[in-house]
C-alpha cells in the first residue's frame, strides 16, 4: 500500500483547544484528576512536566491553570480537525487520540508539488493556533512513526527509508515486555530490526511485530479507515470559562469557521446562511448570519460574524457555541472577473453581506415604481438582491424627485400669495378599491426663496405639500 501520506500529530490537542491557555501556564489532568498529562510551554518553563502529581505541580506554579480531560470533547475536536483537513485532501483518516492522516499523492499536482503543499499547510496551521508535528511517509504507519519522532518531509522513497532506519524502537508503541526483550538483544533502532530476517523475527518476538514491520515498509497492505464527513455541518464547542463580552467569542468561533471551510471545500459547496447559537447556562440565543451569494472562506465569514457580534448585547455569559449550516449552494468557479481594469478589493456580494450584517436586513433596499396613480402607492421596496420586475411602469405627468412619506399641511392663505402656483392642476383620483380614496388637484408651486414643491388641494379644500423638485 505505497503512496504518499501526510500525518499531522497534535501532541497538545486536548489542552490547546481551550481558548485561554495561550497566555498563561496550563496543564491537563487525567480523567481521575490526579496526574498531569499535558503541559503547555509556559508551564514547562516553570518546571511542570507530564506525569507529575497535581499537588506538586501546583506547589511549583500556584497560578497554573488546570483543565480536566474529557474523552467526549476530545473525540469531537479530532473530528473537527478531520473536517478542517478537507481542504488538503479528500481522503482523510482520523488517528485517535491526536492524529490525522491525509493521502496526498493525488494532491501534489493541485498544490504544485510538495513544497507548495507544505507552505499552504503552514499558513493554515498558523491560523489554528495548535502545536502540530507533520511528517510524510510512503505508508500510513511510516508517516505516523516519523511524526511521533519529530517530523520529516520528503517525496523520495529512499530518503524516507534512510530516515526510518534511525527511528528509535521506543516509538513503535510496543508493550513493556517486548521493549525490554529488544533491549536485551541489543537492538535500539528500527533499521537494526529491519535488517533481521522476518521469519526468525516472527519466531522469536511474535508475529505481531513482524506484521507491524511489514506494514511500515509497505510489504503488507494497511489501508486506513477513512473519515466520512457528516451530511450536515453542525459543530458545538464548550468554552472553558464564561465569556461576557461578545468580542471574546471571535477566537473560538475562528476555529469553527476554519473547520467549516474544510467541510465546504471537501463538498465543493458555499454556505449561504450560518446559524450561530450562543449557549448560556439556562437558555440559548440564536443568530443568523447570511451572505448574499454564499461564501466558503473562513476569513470572510469571520468578518461577517464580527460585525454581527459587534451590535450584540450579551444578556448573560456564554458557555458554549454551536454552529450549523442550513443552506448550501454549489460552487461555481470563475464568476469573478479576471480582467477587470481596476481591482475591486472585494466582490459586490461581500459588501452587501457586510452591510446587512451590521445594519440589519431591513436597512437596505431598492425602489421600484408601481402601477398606482396615488403618489404614496406609486412605489414599492424590494430587497437588495433578487428578482427585478421585467417591465416597469412608466410614469405619467410631472412628478418631483423627492416625495414626502406623508403629505404635510400648508397654510391655505400662503397659496397664491407667497407660494405661487406654476403648473396645474393635475387631478389624481383613485383608491376607491382599497378604502384609501383620494381626490386631489396637484400643482407645481414656487416658494419665495425659489424652491419648487409639489402641492395639492384635497376634497376638503385643505392645501398640502407632497414632494420637492430636487
Amino acid at each position: 500500500m505505497k503512496g504518499l501520506w501526510l500525518y499531522l500529530h497534535f501532541p497538545l490537542l486536548a489542552l490547546e483547544s481551550h481558548s485561554d491557555v495561550l497566555e498563561q501556564p496550563a496543564a491537563l489532568l487525567d480523567e481521575h484528576a490526579v496526574r498531569i498529562v499535558q503541559v503547555n510551554a509556559l508551564a514547562q518553563a516553570c518546571g511542570v512536566v507530564p506525569g507529575m502529581a497535581m499537588a506538586s505541580a501546583l506547589s511549583l506554579e500556584p497560578r497554573l491553570r488546570l483543565l480536566q480531560a474529557c474523552a467526549e470533547q476530545h473525540r469531537s475536536q479530532l473530528e473537527g480537525l478531520g473536517l478542517w483537513s478537507g481542504r488538503f485532501s479528500a481522503r482523510v483518516s482520523l488517528q485517535p487520540p491526536d492524529g490525522v492522516l491525509l493521502e496526498i499523492a493525488s494532491m501534489l499536482r493541485y498544490f504544485q508539488g510538495l513544497d507548495g503543499l507544505r507552505r499552504r499547510l503552514r499558513q493554515q496551521l498558523e491560523k489554528l493556533d495548535l502545536t502540530c508535528v507533520t511528517a510524510t511517509g510512503h505508508t500510513p504507519r511510516a508517516a505516523r512513526l516519523l511524526a511521533l519522532d519529530g517530523g520529516f518531509w520528503a517525496e523520495d522513497e529512499s530518503r524516507h527509508e534512510q530516515r526510518l532506519a534511525r527511528v528509535p524502537l521506543a516509538r513503535l508503541e510496543l508493550d513493556e515486555r517486548q521493549q525490554s526483550r529488544l533491549k536485551g538483544l541489543g537492538l535500539s533502532r528500527l533499521g537494526q530490526l529491519q535488517a533481521l530476517p522476518s521469519r526468525e523475527l516472527a519466531h522469536r518476538l511474535g508475529a505481531a511485530l513482524s506484521e507491524q514491520l511489514a506494514c511500515i515498509s509497505g510489504q503488507q497492505a494497511d489501508p486506513p479507515e477513512y473519515f466520512v464527513p457528516p451530511e450536515r455541518f453542525c459543530r458545538a464547542i464548550t468554552l472553558s470559562h464564561e465569556v461576557e463580552r461578545a468580542a471574546a467569542l471571535i477566537f473560538p468561533l475562528r476555529r469553527l469557521l476554519e473547520e467549516l471551510e474544510g467541510f465546504l471545500h471537501a463538498r465543493c459547496r458555499r454556505a449561504v446562511t450560518l446559524e450561530l447559537s450562543l449557549e448560556h447556562t439556562q437558555e440559548q440565543q440564536q443568530l443568523t448570519i447570511g451572505h448574499a451569494t454564499g461564501e466558503q472562506r473562513a476569513e470572510a465569514w469571520l468578518e461577517l460574524c464580527h460585525l454581527r457580534l459587534e451590535r450584540l448585547q450579551l444578556s448573560r455569559p456564554v458557555v458554549g457555541l454551536r454552529l450549523e449550516v442550513h443552506e448550501l449552494r454549489e460552487l461555481e468557479p470563475g464568476r469573478e472577473d479576471l480582467f477587470s481594469p481596476r481591482l475591486p478589493a472585494d466582490a459586490p456580494a461581500q459588501l452587501l453581506s457586510r452591510l446587512t450584517s451590521r445594519l440589519g436586513e431591513q436597512a437596505l433596499g431598492r425602489l421600484v415604481p408601481c402601477e398606482d396613480h396615488r403618489p404614496e402607492c406609486s412605489w414599492r421596496r424590494l430587497p437588495a438582491t433578487g428578482r427585478w420586475p421585467k417591465e416597469m411602469v412608466a410614469s405619467s405627468g410631472r412628478r418631483p424627485g423627492w416625495l414626502l412619506m406623508s403629505p404635510e399641511p400648508l397654510v391655505a392663505d400662503w397659496v397664491g400669495s407667497s407660494i405661487a402656483l406654476l403648473e396645474g392642476p393635475e387631478r389624481i383620483a383613485g383608491g376607491w378599491w382599497d378604502q384609501h380614496p383620494v381626490r386631489r388637484d396637484y400643482y407645481v408651486a414656487r416658494w419665495p426663496d425659489g424652491r419648487c414643491g409639489w402641492v395639492f388641494r384635497d376634497a376638503g379644500g385643505g392645501w398640502f405639500v407632497h414632494g420637492w423638485f430636487g
Binding site: 481596476r342 478589493a345 459586490p348 459588501l351 457586510r354 452591510l355 451590521r358 445594519l359 437596505l364 431598492r366 425602489l367 421600484v368 415604481p369 396613480h373 396615488r374 403618489p375 406609486s378 412605489w379 437588495a384 427585478w388 411602469v393 412608466a394 410614469s395 405619467s396 405627468g397 412628478r399 418631483p400 424627485g401 423627492w402 416625495l403 414626502l404 412619506m405 397659496v415 397664491g416 405661487a420 402656483l421 406654476l422 396645474g424 392642476p425 393635475e426 387631478r427 389624481i428 383620483a429 383613485g430 381626490r439 386631489r440 388637484d441 400643482y443 414656487r446 416658494w447 426663496d449 425659489g450 424652491r451 419648487c452 388641494r457 376634497a459 379644500g461 420637492w468 423638485f469 430636487g470
Partner: protein
C-alpha cells in the same frame, strides 16, 4: 536652472494646467458652465461636497447625468437621503433603478461606516451620502476611501458647514434663485485654483408659467382625469 528643469522637478505648482490631464476621469454634470469650472465634470476618486439646506432647489438635476451614465455592474448607493427618492420620476429620467440601493442607518457613526465601506469596495459607481455636521477626521476617512475605490463619492451637507474646513478637494455651495428657473452654484474650494464666483445654472425643465388654482377639487375637471373609471353612456341608441 532653466524653466524646463524647474517644471520637471515636480515641486512647482502649475495651476489649472494639471487639471486638463485628469479630465478623462470626470463625468459631465450636464451643464457646460459647471463642467468648465470643474475639471470637465464631476471628478473621479475625489470627495465632492455639496452644501445646501433644503431640498427642492434642483439639486438632483446636477447629479442625474452622473447617475444615469453609471456603467452596468456598479451600484448607485444613496445613504440616508432626507426624503424618499421618487421611483417613477427617477425611472423616467433614465436612472437604472435595479442598481440603485437606498440604505438607512440609525446613527451618524453607522452612516459614515456605510459610506466608507461602499466607497472603498470599488463596486459602487456613485455613492451619495447626506451627512449632518461631522468632524474633519470623518471626512478625511471618506476622502481616503474614495481615493482607494476610485469611483464617485458625493456628500451633501448643510450650508453652515461652509465655515468649517474640510479635506474634500471640491466644495460647492448650492443656492436657489428666486425665480426658481435656475440654481446658483459657488465653487468655493477647488483643486489647483482659486475659488470661483457665484454662477447661475439655468434649469431647463423648469419652464413653468404661473396659473391660478381651480376653484374646487369637486368642480368639473378641466384638468386631465387620472385613475378614475371613464363614464360612458351605454345603450339607448336608435
Amino acid at each position: 536652472m532653466g524653466l524646463e528643469q524647474l517644471i520637471n522637478r515636480g515641486d512647482v505648482w502649475r495651476g489649472p494646467g494639471m487639471l486638463r490631464s485628469s479630465a478623462s476621469a470626470s463625468r459631465s454634470t450636464g451643464h457646460l458652465q459647471l463642467d468648465r469650472m470643474l475639471p470637465g465634470g464631476w471628478p473621479r476618486a475625489e470627495l465632492i461636497e455639496l452644501l445646501y439646506d433644503q431640498p427642492g432647489i434642483g439639486e438632483l438635476q446636477l447629479l442625474l447625468p452622473l447617475l444615469c451614465a453609471a456603467e452596468a455592474p456598479g451600484w448607485l448607493m444613496w445613504v440616508d437621503p432626507p426624503l424618499l427618492p421618487c421611483a417613477s420620476t427617477l425611472h423616467a429620467q433614465g436612472l437604472p433603478l435595479e442598481r440603485m440601493l437606498v440604505v438607512h442607518t440609525r446613527t451618524t457613526k453607522e452612516r459614515l461606516w456605510t459610506m466608507e465601506q461602499a466607497l472603498k469596495s470599488g463596486c459602487c459607481t456613485v455613492v451619495l451620502g447626506w451627512l449632518p455636521t461631522v468632524d474633519t477626521t470623518a471626512l478625511r476617512r471618506l476622502q481616503l476611501a474614495v481615493a482607494e475605490g476610485g469611483n464617485w463619492g458625493l456628500v451633501m451637507r448643510p450650508r453652515a458647514s461652509r465655515q468649517h474646513s474640510s479635506p474634500a478637494p471640491w466644495r460647492l455651495l448650492l443656492e436657489p434663485e428666486e425665480d426658481a428657473r435656475a440654481l446658483s452654484v459657488t465653487l468655493f474650494k477647488r483643486k489647483g485654483g482659486w475659488a470661483l464666483p457665484r454662477c447661475r445654472m439655468p434649469l431647463s425643465q423648469r419652464s413653468w408659467r404661473e396659473v391660478q388654482p381651480e376653484p374646487s377639487v369637486n368642480s368639473v375637471p378641466q384638468a386631465r382625469l387620472r385613475g378614475e373609471p371613464e363614464l360612458r353612456l351605454v345603450g339607448g341608441g336608435a
